[in-house]
């Protein structure tokens, strides 16, 4: 390789390496803000500000969904396998919302330790299976233990 070209090659590689390092440092410094939501464990640890707009995400604990008889009000618990978080919501849930599936809620953390949600989004998983295959599989819930959200 011609020495001039070799020098230009090194300059190009340096440009890519240094700009990547700069971006890596910035994203590392902002790593907490890069998360779209807080996990229930962050609520348990007291890292989440009270009565501010925040998002929480986790697996809907199977058996925890309780609906009111006379209104749209619904309560459920989110888990990440380490802690549980109580959520209260009063609007229509998305179609894919289900027990044992992940969900992301936007709302405020109330002094009593539960989240009053304005919006609930279903976070579907990366698995695609035909209905007959899904039926034959023993564990249908994708995140029942909350280990993966």
């Amino acid at each position: 390789m011609h020495p001039v070209r070799r020098q230009r090659l090194i300059l190009v590689l340096l440009l890519v390496a240094l700009s990547s390092a700069a971006v890596a440092l910035v994203t590392y410094a902002m790593r907490n803000n890069m998360n779209y939501f807080y996990a229930p464990a962050a609520f348990a640890a007291g890292e989440v500000p009270m009565e501010k707009n925040i998002r929480a995400g986790g697996c809907v604990v199977p058996g925890s969904v309780v609906r009111a008889d006379d209104s749209l009000d619904v309560r459920f618990a989110l888990t990440d396998g380490r802690a549980e978080l109580e959520v209260v919501f009063d609007k229509i849930l998305p179609d894919l919302f289900a027990e044992g599936e992940a969900a992301v809620v936007t709302g405020r953390l109330m002094p009593d330790g539960y989240v009053r949600a304005d919006q609930v989004l279903a976070k579907h998983d990366e698995n695609y299976t035909p209905p007959e295959v899904a039926e034959s599989m023993a564990a249908e819930a994708s995140c029942a233990d909350g280990a993966k959200i």
Binding site: Y36, G57, P94, V120, L121, K123, Y128, T129, P130, V133
Partner: protein, 254 residues
């Protein structure tokens, strides 16, 4: 001495003549693969147990997103080769890749929004995956804008190549964003190191679409490059001869 073949590759005339024979084959392959993949994926693949039929947009969303990322590397590496070897053709490929990548990124974002409404319950969220994909769109648009911002073509080539190279850091961020941070977007379905989490009956049509999109990308990139070659080289005798020979039927040079 060993680099001679590489420099011959950089000749626009050589490229134009060599690729003439490829074009119909690439067009035919992309037409057949995308046609077969669409019919297979939309009509014959089973529906998803949880999402029903709405998951079928994956057959457009995933191939478009794949090529949007791969196309960025093609653009940036072409720019790097142009900077290092001062190769005209390489810069032409870089410029041709920018609008194609922008369109593919837009398709990925748009189909993602359409898919998000029935599944997540929203068209758009500012999570790490979607935001970094939007930055990719802006990078592509930035390269297009820079390529037209200078009156001297060589200055524009260099500026575009530098922006494209600095932007490469975004590609691994897009790819790994769903693993590094909490996002609403689910992690990757097609994995290269372990078993993919999609049923084979749904995966094979997707694979057909991905290969079809690669063919279509190659066809579009080469066609766009050939057009730009004619524009840049219109004064040279070989282009004049080509245009003269094909007389008034040839409107590409304009």
């Amino acid at each position: 001495m060993a680099w001679q073949w590489f420099h011959r590759l950089g000749s626009p005339r050589w490229f134009y003549q060599k690729t003439s024979a490829w074009m119909p084959w690439l067009a035919l392959a992309s037409l057949l693969l995308i046609g077969a993949g669409s019919i297979w994926g939309l009509g014959f693949a089973p529906e998803d147990a949880k999402q029903g039929n709405s998951y079928r947009i994956i057959y457009i969303h995933v191939p478009a997103a794949f090529l949007a990322l791969a196309g960025y590397y093609i653009m940036a590496i072409s720019g790097a080769i142009g900077l290092i070897w001062k190769m005209k053709l390489s810069f032409v490929v870089m410029r041709a890749a920018a609008p194609i990548g922008a369109v593919l990124t837009f398709i990925a974002l748009f189909t993602g929004a359409v898919w998000g409404k029935p599944t997540w319950g929203t068209y758009w969220v500012w999570d790490a995956r979607i935001t970094s994909m939007l930055i990719l769109l802006f990078l592509y648009i930035g390269v297009i804008a820079l390529s037209r911002a200078f009156s001297r073509e060589q200055v524009a080539d260099k500026a575009c190549a530098l922006l494209a190279l600095v932007g490469t850091v975004n590609i691994p961020i897009i790819y790994k964003s769903v693993d590094w941070w909490f996002t609403l977007h689910q992690p990757a379905t097609i994995k290269f190191t372990e078993k993919s989490s999609i049923d084979p009956s749904m995966f094979y049509p997707l694979l057909t679409m991905v290969i079809g999109f690669y063919c279509l990308y190659a066809w579009t990139l080469i066609a766009h490059t050939r057009e730009k070659i004619l524009q840049r080289e219109w004064r040279t005798s070989w282009v004049q001869q080509l245009m003269g020979g094909e007389s008034a039927t040839e409107s590409k040079a304009g």
